[in-house]
Symmetry: C2
Subunit: 371 residues, 2 copies
C-alpha cells in the first residue's frame, strides 16, 4: 500500500534549537548559520537558473510551485533562504515569459513547507513569518530522515546546516562494554577509531534515508539543494575549530561534575547526535544514490571564516543550538550555570581554538536533480 | 498578478483557544465541540459518498488527496474529523477499485492541512498528531477569512464550530458615540437593534470572504463541509442557553468591576468577536455564493442537547474557548479569579440557563461542491 510508505519506523530523537525569541534563542543567535544562507544566494540562483526547467515540470497557471526547507528551525534564516529561492525562480519565470508570451506561467503561486522536528518551536516560526512573503506558508512536523511529503509533490527541497544532525546517537557509543564507548568526549572527536566508525555508519544510514525520502517526494526534474559543513579528508574532528569547541564543552561538563554540580555518570552518557562527515565521505554517499543526477558540487569557505569571534559569541551560538539538548539531559535548571562556565573557560582559550585551523572545515554546496 | 492575491489586507484579530494540554486547555475541555465532530461522522460519510466523484478530480497514482481543517485548534477533535473524512474517501476508493480494477487509485496519498490563526498553539497540535495517522500532516497559520492555500489546490475543506468567530469586532459597537455602542453586553445579545445589525453585517462580510477564498482554493468538484451552530429565526441570542451564558459572563465581569478587581471601562470595552447567525440568515449567505452548488443542507440538534451540564463543565468549556481573550484584555493574572467567580455564579443559575430553551440553537451541516 503506497499510502502507508510514510508511516516510518524511525523514532527520531529530536533536538530542536532553543525556541522563542529570547536572548538565548536560535532566532537571536544564528548569524553564523545565516552567513551560509546569505553566502549561498548567488550559487543557488545560478544553480536554479542552470538546472531548473519549468516547462519540464509541467507547471501551468493552475499549478503551485512547492518548496520545502528541511530542518528550518525558527527563523529568520529559513525565511531568507526561501525568499532567495523564490526570487531565483521568479527570475526564470520572468525571462521565460518574455521569450514565450503565449505560454505565460505568470499565474504561478508558491507554497513553502517549513519542516523541522515536531518539538521545534513552530509557534515562534509561524508568528515571525514575514508579512511581505509572496508564498503560502505551511509547517511540516517530523524527521527529515523519513517521508514528510506525498509522492512527487515537491519541486525544490533545500536544507542548510541541518544534515550533521543524526537521527539518533549510535548505540555502541553509549555502551560501557563496547570498544566504541565514547566516555570522555561528547561527539565524534576522532580520537577513537571505533567511535568514529559508529558515528560514520550512523551518518551513512541517515544520509541514505534522507536522499531516498527526497527521491520519493520530489517530482522528476525537481531540485535538491544541500548546504552542509564537512571536514577536510583525513583531518580529525578534534583538530578543527568546531571539534576543539565541542571538546571544551565536554571538559567543562567534567569540571562541573568534579565540582559536584552534575553527576559524572551523566557526563559520561552525554553525547551530541551530530557528525561532521569528511568531504570525500559525504560526496561518496551522494554519488552512490542513483535517483539523482549531480548538477553542481562545489566547496566553499564559510563566509565568516576570518571573523574574530568572542567567547561570548561562540557560547551564545552553542547555547542556542545545544541548550535544549543539555537541558534535556542534565536538567533545565543547570543550563545557565553550564553555559556561563563554558563561556568563561572558552574566553581563556579562544586563540588556541581558532588559530591556524580555519581551513579544516569545508562547506559543501550540492545541487541534485531528480531523475 | 495572481500570485499576489493571497497577500490579504485582512488584519485578523486572532483569539485562539487555550493552548497546551493543562487542566484549562481546549485539548482537555472540548467534548462539547467533539460531540459535533462525532455526531456528524455519518452525515459526512454519506455526503462524501453521494457527492465526491474521485474520477472527475483526475486523481491518479501520483496524486495527493488534500484535505484542510479550518479553525482546527489543538486537537483532539481535528484529528477525529480528519480521520472520519479519510475513512469515507477510502471507502469510495475501495468500492471504485472493485468496480474498475484497471484504473486503480490505491496509490492515493493523503495530505492534511491543519489551519488556525498563527497564535494558535501549533506546538501542542504537532506533538499530539496521532502516530497511527494515515496522512502527511502540515500546519497552516492564518485567518480563514483570507486565502490560505494556492489556487485549486484542495479537494476537501472542513470546518467545525469555527464559523461564528468573526475576523474582527465591529467598529461601531466599541464607539461610545455610536448608537451601536454595546455597553453592558459582551457580544450580540439581541437587545439592541443597532448592535445586532453591526454584528450581522460583520458576519455577512466574513462568511462571504470565507466562501470566496475557499472557492479559489478548492479544485472543481471539490467539497466544502461546514458544521456550525445557528439560532432559530427570530429568537434573540439572549434567550438561548449560549446567550444567557454569555450574559452571565458579562454580568460577572461587571460584578468584579464593582468589587474593584478590574476597571469598569475595561468591561465596557470588552466584546467577544463571535456571532451566532440566524439559520435563515446563514442559509441565505450560502445560497447567494454562486461558486458552489449546495448538495446537502441539513439541520440537526446538538448531540449533547439533553445532557445535564454542571456549572463547572460550562465554566471549563468557556474558559478553554475564551480564557485567552479574557486574559489578553484584562491581564492574564485575572483569568483564574474571573473564571472562578463566573463558575460559582453560574452554579446558582444553571436551571434558568438551560430550562426549556434547548431547541433554540440549531446545528447546520452544509455540503457544498465547487462548480
Amino acid at each position: 500500500m503506497v499510502h502507508n510508505t510514510f508511516v516510518s519506523n524511525i523514532s527520531p530523537e529530536a533536538y530542536p534549537m532553543v525556541g522563542g525569541d529570547g536572548p538565548h534563542s536560535y532566532a537571536k543567535n544564528s548569524i553564523y548559520q545565516e552567513a551560509i544562507v546569505n553566502g549561498s544566494k548567488g550559487m543557488i540562483a545560478a544553480g536554479i537558473r542552470k538546472t531548473l526547467d519549468l516547462k519540464s515540470l509541467r507547471l501551468d497557471t493552475s499549478s503551485t510551485f512547492k518548496i520545502a526547507d528541511l530542518g528550518c528551525s525558527t527563523g529568520p534564516n529559513t525565511f531568507i533562504a526561501m525568499q532567495n529561492i523564490i526570487e531565483a525562480i521568479e527570475l526564470i519565470k520572468y525571462q521565460d515569459d518574455c521569450e514565450c508570451e503565449h505560454d505565460n506561467p505568470s499565474g504561478l503561486e508558491f507554497q513553502v513547507f517549513f519542516n523541522d522536528h515536531s518539538n521545534n518551536d513552530f509557534n515562534t516560526l509561524f508568528k515571525s513569518v514575514p508579512l511581505s512573503k509572496k508564498y503560502f506558508a505551511t509547517g511540516v512536523p517530523g524527521s527529515f530522515h523519513g517521508r514528510l511529503f506525498p509522492e512527487s509533490s515537491l519541486h525544490v527541497a533545500h536544507t542548510s546546516n541541518a544534515l550533521p544532525w543524526l537521527s539518533k546517537i549510535p548505540k555502541e557509543i553509549t555502551n560501557s562494554n563496547s570498544p566504541a564507548w565514547n566516555r570522555g568526549h561528547i561527539l565524534c572527536s576522532g580520537f577513537e577509531k571505533e567511535v568514529a566508525e559508529a558515528y560514520s555508519a550512523q551518518f551513512k544510514n541517515d544520509i541514505e534515508s534522507f536522499l531516498n525520502a527526497r527521491a520519493q517526494e520530489l517530482v522528476p526534474g525537481g531540485l535538491l539543494l544541500l548546504l552542509t559543513p564537512t571536514i577536510r579528508d583525513g583531518i580529525p574532528m578534534f583538530s578543527t575549530p568546531e571539534g576543539t569547541n565541542f571538546d571544551y564543552l565536554g571538559s567543562c561538563l567534567y569540571d562541573l561534575a568534579n565540582m559536584g554540580l552534575i553527576a559524572e555518570e551523566k557526563v559520561d552518557s552525554f553525547n551530541v547526535p551530530m557528525y561532521y562527515p569528511f568531504l570525500g565521505e559525504l560526496m561518496g554517499h551522494i554519488k552512490r544514490n542513483k535517483n539523482f543526477s549531480i548538477e553542481i558540487m562545489n566547496t566553499f569557505t564559510h563566509p565568516l571564516v576570518h571573523m574574530v569571534y568572542s567567547a561570548e559569541f561562540w557560547a551564545s551560538l552553542s547555547r542556542a543550538a545545544f541548550g535544549g539538548l543539555v537541558g534535556q539531559h542534565f536538567g533545565y535548571q543547570f543550563v545557565d550555570r553550564i553555559f556561563n562556565y563554558y563561556s568563561t573557560k572558552l574566553a581563556e582559550n579562544m586563540s588556541s581554538i581558532c588559530d591556524g585551523k580555519t581551513q579544516d572545515k569545508i562547506e559543501l554546496f550540492v545541487l541534485l536533480r531528480r531523475n
